[in-house]
């Protein structure tokens, strides 16, 4: 607290918010190692899911346009608040842009001040893979070793590596409607230790698979998996269908599978279960983790994780990232912090 002074003050520590750029998050991931990071993040998401009732939950706030969607995904546990901004524009790929980009913010609930601003395209890829790994660890047969990976785009390698690191997958059967995507994925995973089997159809990819992950990107009611491709005992992570009008599974699969979701009100709108009645039984994954609901019934059951991505996962990821940042990173002067909080105008005057 003071009166006018001659020189504009430098931003105070309270004015500065750590910023994690794309380059910085990649450096953090390499420092930790991608697989340890995916394992950490899986455990962090599991821990937050176990205390699910602590979180304020709301379906995402979406702004739809004819060619895409921009969404805000906020949540809070009463101590910290997080939100993610994420877009989904399938036509972006043709223009050399990302279909999905994201950034987000972590804040302190007691002051409302941001603690961290971060890129979240890369972080979302990690948390989406970690969430599939968590669902698979919770719902798949423990002896699952073979993954069919349908859709070999931007999310594919992260899915394969998370399921290898967390669930013991050792073989990945790859398929994409574009063989170049499969080749890209196989090339990127060449040194992963996974046995890689490129396939020429989704049917072929599913042969002998214990776990099937679908992560395709087309925004339409595409049928990536048909009922006859799903053998007894399989676990499915259907993560590419994540908005109204975008699904991947034939409805007949839903009638056979035990369906698990993140947050039912959101998944009813965005998930595979938008294809079936609102009374289709589902179990929220957190209930299985916390022992409030059964998971897989037996080794013959088909389990389905109808994943759409939920704000609590981003909350977990941002809190995980906040614990990884070290001094010396980028700080943004984003909070106007006058010496006297009531004297915003005086701060502006002194900056002249």
């Amino acid at each position: 607290m003071q009166a006018n002074r001659a020189t504009p003050p430098a931003p105070s520590a309270q004015a500065l918010v750590p910023f994690v750029s794309v380059a910085e998050i990649m450096a953090i991931i390499h420092r930790i190692g991608l697989k340890p990071a995916l394992m950490d993040l899986t455990d962090r998401i599991a821990a937050d899911f176990r205390r699910w009732p602590d979180f304020d939950k709301t379906p995402r706030v979406a702004a739809h346009s004819p060619i895409g969607v921009i969404e805000l995904m906020p949540t809070s546990d009463g101590a910290r608040y997080a939100f993610k901004y994420v877009n989904g524009h399938p036509a972006n790929t043709k223009a050399g842009l990302q279909t999905v980009t994201a950034f987000g913010v972590l804040s302190a609930v007691d002051t409302g001040y941001p603690l961290l601003i971060s890129e979240m395209t890369m972080l979302t890829a990690l948390r989406t893979a970690a969430t599939s790994a968590l669902a698979t660890r919770t719902l798949a047969r423990p002896d699952s070793r073979v993954l069919a990976l349908i859709g070999n785009g931007a999310q594919a390698e992260f899915q394969a590596l998370a399921l290898q690191a967390v669930c013991g997958i050792d073989t990945v059967r790859l398929f994409d409607t574009d063989p170049a995507a499969t080749a890209k994925c196989a090339r990127n995973l060449a040194e992963s230790g996974l046995m890689l089997i490129p396939c020429t159809s989704a049917e072929a990819a599913c042969e002998g698979a214990d776990v099937i992950t679908t992560c395709t990107a087309d925004k339409r009611l595409a049928t990536v998996l048909h009922d006859n491709m799903i053998g007894a005992g399989v676990h499915i992570n259907a993560i590419g269908g994540d908005c109204p009008g975008k699904t991947e599974l034939a409805p007949a699969i839903l009638s056979r599978a035990e369906t698990f979701v993140e947050y039912e009100p959101q998944t009813r709108i965005e998930g595979e279960i938008q294809q079936v009645g609102a009374d289709h039984p589902v179990t929220e994954l957190w209930q299985v983790l916390g022992g409030q609901a059964p998971g897989r019934r037996d080794a013959q059951a088909v389990t389905l994780f109808d994943g759409v991505g939920f704000a609590v996962e981003d909350f977990s990821a941002l809190n995980w990232l906040y614990d990884q940042i070290q001094p010396g990173g980028t700080m943004l002067d984003v909070i106007a912090d006058p010496d006297d909080p009531r004297d915003l105008y005086g701060m502006l005057q002194r900056a002249r």
Copy 2:
């Protein structure tokens, strides 16, 4: 599109988003001049209000805690999308922090990519003052010259200067329950050309006022203005009451005044009109600007702008700011932009 290469690429132009820090927005305001900036912004908000039906509108998305609120305020006109993050924590002042801080983002709807990330504490102060100026220009008697400014905190000087620049106010009667705030405000406005009259009560401040602006900060049902303080022909900008449980006016004033609001569904929750029935008649300000509804009835009427701050004003402000930024400012590497959009993992590998 290419295969692996040896060195990590520098972030592409598509990866970089302009960032306007607190220091940078202050430099921009000084380059333009505060009063011209307030006048520009008033006209920009007026233009956007006139095309009100173009905007997607929703009440803000609020996360309440016992000591404050964190809100997201999104809107879009179909070509651009904007949101603001803003907190409200009255106890922050005692800790030397701002009650309200804000930042925001402007994006392109066709790609979902952000165009601008900006501090918005300073920008919100400007747009709030510009909105009051717009309401005053639209609703007050044209010969209004004397402003009573009740609440002399962070918003006060901006209100006084906007009403001087836009509406021809030449005299400001100041009152705050804390005389130090009034002294701060008078000191800051000493060279503004306004005649300043510090007063020892709200009643005294209102004597002879043509326009009354209340911008107090206590989060409680405080009564800043009583009915007997409001003479015939006065225009009131009640802008400090902006969330459930926070109001400034005695209900009797509402029954006498013609009430104008930004976006009725939000103001019913947050504004002065939360004190009266849901059938209390109000007019949205944009309807007056567009000629769809009458404004002030006659020179004797009391008009009330029950301002709570709406996302369209932030949209206007971010678009205005976007037009002011020049090359050489801060760019943030916030968008992961691999050469092949499907090869996010390859981008991560190459950054090792």
